[in-house]
Symmetry: C2
């Protein structure tokens, strides 16, 4: 049982030398004759360079195998070991992390649990984001939820910027939205998940999360990268938090957007999120509004699904991308739209309807050309956002 | 009261347009005629572009002022707002964050408290790191501490990679090292700070930190960037944690090393650490073993001292750099050496003595040329590591 990490170096870097520096420097850290009497204890902790290769594009890759006894079966001690001090050493990027299947934390619900809760097994799920991000009151949130919920929405989440603010306190947002969710359930039998953004200092956040769940929160949203993997892991391990955790990628670019430093998006938003206990993970879709590579997106998708975690391609999603999304993802996906629902020309409810019309049209094999699509919420969406 | 953030963009980026995208996209997020009835609530939350300028090197800088009502007086909600989604938008780096003086968390002890505890007011403090990083037992730690403690060391810390491992459990490291600290205090009256690495899932870490302090830990080490600012803030706010928190920069390169993305080192290791409640902050010295810019180092130094936080230049520190360090820092600094003490040719105790000899030599205005320095621990250090 070990951990294999792939580091990528640009041309001109002596990758073999760097690999050796990592294998020693990120484990024993110091190694000379004085430690001969401790040789066995030290070698147990030393990493091994498995392979150093040069790729067709001139980049070098080094695979390094770390002993599992160096870490605590969590992500923070893992990151400190594989890239703590070395992250500051110059050009070198973590592009792959292979962990034992049972490493870290598993989602409590994941794909299966979320589908079971919603009672929807046979189609992609449709998710919206409250917009505008800031400036809505708690009651405004409930009013919007009523519109989109009655239109058939499956999941809604707070905007990730919406903290626990006096203008719309978290507990109040939950209170008013909960009433809407219960009303819709009473009238239609349908459940709607509302991922409430849980924020605050670590101690306060953990208490607040329990309190939100006790008060009816049926999902949580966590900005995992600004709040920290140890908080995700704590929520995921807490049996009182018996609701899905939606992991938001805010701040991922700070550690993933550089070519020669940091970690690849698929490591952070795929591998690490999947071993941190997230039930669903949001990340930029390659055909959305943020620059994102299709191969990173597909790696994220696979790594999440491998551990029963729902992939949630996001940012710039609108009804016109549904055919492409279904071609790439099939039905095992949550389609998450912010303005792509909230800014629909005929309002948020029409935004939701446009997504469902898009799903039906793909199912029926019908074309998406806005000139052909009959007058509908979908047609309006296609005319506004294209396809 | 507001927050002013400076974003830097490379040539070719329309900085004015990007600044507007940030000011709206990272606050209200969506803004059109439909929201006219909520104009007042929305505008209260909107950020304002203060200035966009082009620098002599062709880079553009945009200063954006965010309303303080958008955040929770903490770092995670701040980072989510100023750089959450936008971190994924392409080239653009956060190079400055101006916060109100009372924003965030203050250190409980800081420079003044650490000096008072140690009873050392008039010179730089000397700090060591247990090495090798992994492979030492708890008893090995105590044996090393006895050597360096008797030689006059002020502070020692766990290596940041040393988690709570069966080969050297955290509680046992503390137990054995505590005995040494008490023995030295009984014999000499001197205190030694031992910054114990506190690790684990958020819930477990917070409990463990209290338990360590109850069991005699007189300082804590936290890998703030792999464990998260909310954990630093929780420890700093906890009155039971009445010991200094040493913040380690592990993983900083992942978010700071890139030229066009991420955040500058001085923002993360200076501004944010200083407003997160750290008592002392480690960071790479510009004349150390990691690539680091002197102007970033000096910004970090100033921002930490502004809030009574001890600057701890680290990585590749050895006795030969003492003259340069004192020229830059004066006495208000902790000189932190790992191998620069532990790998001294005559052993760790000689490593500590070499630092004190160096301090005296600087004080006396004597040259550091190893050919001139009389036979001593310092001379050996200079012959090994230069000056």
């Amino acid at each position: 049982m070990s951990i294999v990490v792939t580091y990528r170096f640009p041309q001109g870097v002596d990758a073999r030398k760097q690999a050796q520096i990592i294998a020693v420097g990120q484990t024993a850290g110091s190694w000379d004759d004085r430690f001969l009497h401790r040789t066995q204890q030290l070698t147990e902790h030393l990493a091994q360079v498995v392979e150093v290769r040069t790729l067709a594009d001139g980049y070098h890759e080094a695979e390094i195998q770390f002993p599992i006894i160096n870490v605590e079966n969590d992500l923070a001690s893992l990151l400190t070991m594989i890239f703590g001090k070395y992250s500051m050493a110059g050009a070198g990027k973590v592009v792959g992390v292979q962990l034992p299947q049972n490493y870290g934390t598993s989602p409590k619900l994941g794909i299966k649990g979320i589908r079971k809760f919603l009672g929807v097994e046979d189609r992609p799920l449709i998710m919206a984001i409250f917009k505008p991000a800031l400036g809505l009151s708690a009651q405004d949130h409930a009013q919007i939820l009523q519109e989109v919920g009655n239109a058939g929405l499956d999941i809604i989440k707070d905007d990730e910027i919406m903290a626990d603010l006096p203008s719309a306190p978290t507990a109040l947002r939950l209170k008013y939205c909960r009433e809407v969710i219960e009303d819709i359930k009473a009238r239609t039998g349908r459940e709607i998940l509302y991922a409430v953004n849980v924020t605050g200092r670590a101690d306060q956040l953990l208490v607040k999360a329990k309190s939100l769940v006790k008060n009816g929160a049926n999902a949580l949203l966590l900005n995992v990268l600004t709040y920290g993997f140890p908080i995700l892991e704590a929520l995921a391990a807490d049996l009182e938090i018996n609701v899905p955790i939606f992991a938001h990628p805010a701040f991922a670019g700070a550690m993933c957007a550089a070519t020669h430093t940091g970690l690849s998006y698929s490591v952070v938003l795929g591998t690490l999120m999947a071993h941190g206990g997230a039930d669903a993970v949001l990340y930029p879709a390659s055909y959305g509004s943020l620059p994102f590579y299709p191969d990173e997106e597909s790696k994220i998708r696979e790594r999440l699904r491998d551990r029963n975690v729902f992939p949630v391609p996001s940012a710039g999603i609108h009804p016109g991308i549904v055919p492409r999304a279904l071609r790439d993802y099939g039905r095992e996906v949550i389609l998450n739209a912010g303005t792509g629902i909230m800014d629909h020309p005929s309002g948020p409810a029409a935004g939701v309807r446009a997504f469902f019309e898009a799903l039906e049209r793909v199912e029926a094999g019908e074309p998406f050309d806005p000139q052909i699509v009959p007058a509908s919420a979908l047609k309006e969406a296609l005319l506004k956002w294209g396809c």
